[in-house]
Amino acid sequence: MGINFKQETFRDDFSFRNSPEQVRRFPFPFHEDGYMYSVNIEPHVPGAKNTVFEHLFDVDEHYVSEMHDRALVLAEDPLRCQSLPHMTLAGWDTLELLMTEKAKSYPEHFSLTRDGDKWHWVNRPLGIDDRFTFGDTSTLPYDPLEYITRQSQGDFAVLDQRDGNLWMDAGIVTTQADWSLDFDIGMNFFEWHAPVPLAHEMGVFKRALKFLMALQQGQPARRHNWTMTINPRLDTSPENYHKWGTDRTTVTPENVGDKVHLRVEIQMFFRLPRSNALLFPIRCYLIKMDELVTSPKWARRFHRVLRDLPPELAEYKGLVRYRPTVVEWLSKYDDGAPTSPGFGPD
């Protein structure tokens, strides 16, 4: 049975909704009633059925609409996708990884036929049927990174590894939590993480870098991060801050359930075989407060996490203005009962 792809928007009238099935598979990010940074890296191995970890690259009901939104962002601002000249090979690595995994995980929607370097790619949901020569950029309508990531949910940063550091030398970034590829391009690991509070002092980034530099082929890893977004907008970029920044002032006790979203990122790490670069996909999942509280455990726990969040983190995540309103709203769903350990709904 195939996925039932929805037609919806992430801008203007914001028609985005999760189906009840999609709510149940939401990657709720809190395993306990509180939150502090941790490296929280785990092996990225295929997980349980009907979770977002069932396949290495999750495709869900929002796929077609998310790809349409990405095309709109790129049409307005082509600098959302960039690749420095030495990163083309890493782009081909990325294309191979995404095509082979998608075709393997969702054969009813994607297929790939390889005859040496003559490849035939079919993407049924997006109506794409292309033949090209692997390694020859002139046979594709875009460079390989842009071509395949216009067909893949989530942002992708491609990190070159050299001189004992990682360098953000390519990527496509249209569904981001307020960071800019155009600003970060060419930066190293410590430079692009410089704005993050507290974590540097905790030594988090040094440990994370050491781990990532040693990441091996065939042994991908993942972690998660979270923030909140007002209205289901994928493109909360610095470039478009003028379009969404003021949304934060529009939260009222009456509209919390529909307007306020928990935004979870699943960040993955893959060693790319030809280029020895690291692929860093950042997949964004949104859930409305109305949808979240359909799980009593998630409602109780998120109320406690948000209420007790250290002020520096609330500031960094941009939640300060509307946090009290949301905490008050969520408190109606928290009877003080204990919550069970682990991420899942009860």
Binding site: I41, E42, P43, H44, V45, P85, H86, M87, L89, D93, E96, G135, D160, Q161, R162, D163, K210, F211, A214, Q216, Q217, G218, Q219, P220, A221, P273, R274, S275, N276
Partner: protein, 321 residues
């Protein structure tokens, strides 16, 4: 933390005598299918079951990254070594099943380079076999300077010359041919990156000459072929696991720790990658540091050791493992 499986079951499909010191080994997947794609400069760790002892030795992949139906490595026999190369030469035959790791690259090409200038000594030629194949397939600009003892030990010089002609420069000791490194380095175009793989003395010479000529550190890449050296046996207390172990003459400290049932992380097993770095809790004696990872200060402090290549002589050593 380790994700997924790092081990690949392979069958030895061919063993080729290259010259009096070097044999080449071909591996294919035992259960069929192509092997993982890799990048030039990568190595695999080969598991050897040698009379109840497990040896894990890293070898550079020398086959073309563009063709992964099989992997090939070349092993130089080291009669004074700890026995890994002798095992490969004496015991490994076509048809034999072995286990290797996924490829790991600690000697990667810098793809920003306008030109790749490669300097090889002896068996240090192997990673360049894969790197030149990778670059040639994409029209990359490279030049290889290869020093060896004589024609008989100029491993793969004939193959490379046939493939790449004037891009290969050979220097034979017994013909009195000598690489004029100062001149070579002073005549390179902007955007050239330098790679060196060979004996420790050669790496030191190339790095020092490049530094003297003003080459930035980031443009000089090198790979040490530092196999662990044998030495006097010594005793170690592993404090975390509460185990006492003895490191044999032909065994590395890392191998002895593994033989005790522990699994410390590793990638290179040659003192370069830093994965197996171990804290010293207490000691009474002298460290024999052979790694390229720890700083001189770390070496002097007596607080850290790289168990893959370094040893110890003295009364007692307690490690945080």
């Amino acid at each position: 933390m380790r994700a997924g499986s790092n081990r690949i079951d392979v069958t030895v499909t061919d063993v080729v005598v290259v010259n009096e010191l070097v044999k080449r080994f071909h591996f294919e997947r035992t259960h069929g299918g192509i092997l993982p794609t890799f990048s030039g400069g990568a190595h695999v760790v080969v598991e050897m079951r040698d009379e109840g002892k497990t040896r894990l030795n890293p070898y550079s992949l020398m086959s073309s990254p563009l063709d992964t139906r099989d992997y090939t490595i070349s092993v130089r026999r080291d009669d004074a070594g700890r026995g890994g190369s002798l095992f490969m030469h004496r015991e490994v035959k076509p048809g034999q099943r072995m286990v290797i790791s996924n490829p790991v690259n600690l000697f990667s090409l810098d793809l920003r380079a306008k030109k790749h200038l490669m300097i090889a000594g002896g068996i240090g030629i192997t990673p360049f076999m894969a790197q030149t194949a990778q670059l040639a397939g994409r029209g990359g600009n490279f030049e290889l300077h290869y020093a060896c003892r004589n024609d008989a030990l100029a491993t793969y010089a004939d193959v490379l010359t046939a493939r790449y002609d004037r891009r290969i420069h050979l220097y034979r000791d017994d013909h009195g041919e000598k690489l004029d490194l100062e001149k070579l380095l002073s005549t390179q175009p902007l955007g050239t990156y330098l790679y060196v793989c060979g004996p420790a003395g050669m790496i030191k010479w190339v790095r020092a000459t490049a530094a003297e000529a003003g080459w930035p550190d980031e443009t000089v890449h090198f790979e040490h072929f530092a196999a662990p050296q044998p030495g006097k046996p010594f005793d170690v207390r592993l404090a975390v696991s509460e185990v006492d172990i003895r490191v044999g003459e032909h065994e590395s400290l890392l191998e002895a720790i593994e033989a005790a049932g522990l699994n410390p992380p590793y990638l290179c097993r040659g003192g370069v990658c830093g994965q197996c770095e171990t804290n010293v809790i207490s000691y009474d004696g002298k460290f024999l540091h052979n790694d390229h990872w720890l700083s001189e200060e770390d070496h002097r402090s007596g607080c850290k050791i790289m168990p893959c290549v370094s040893r110890f002589e003295g009364k007692s050593l307690t490690l945080e493992r």
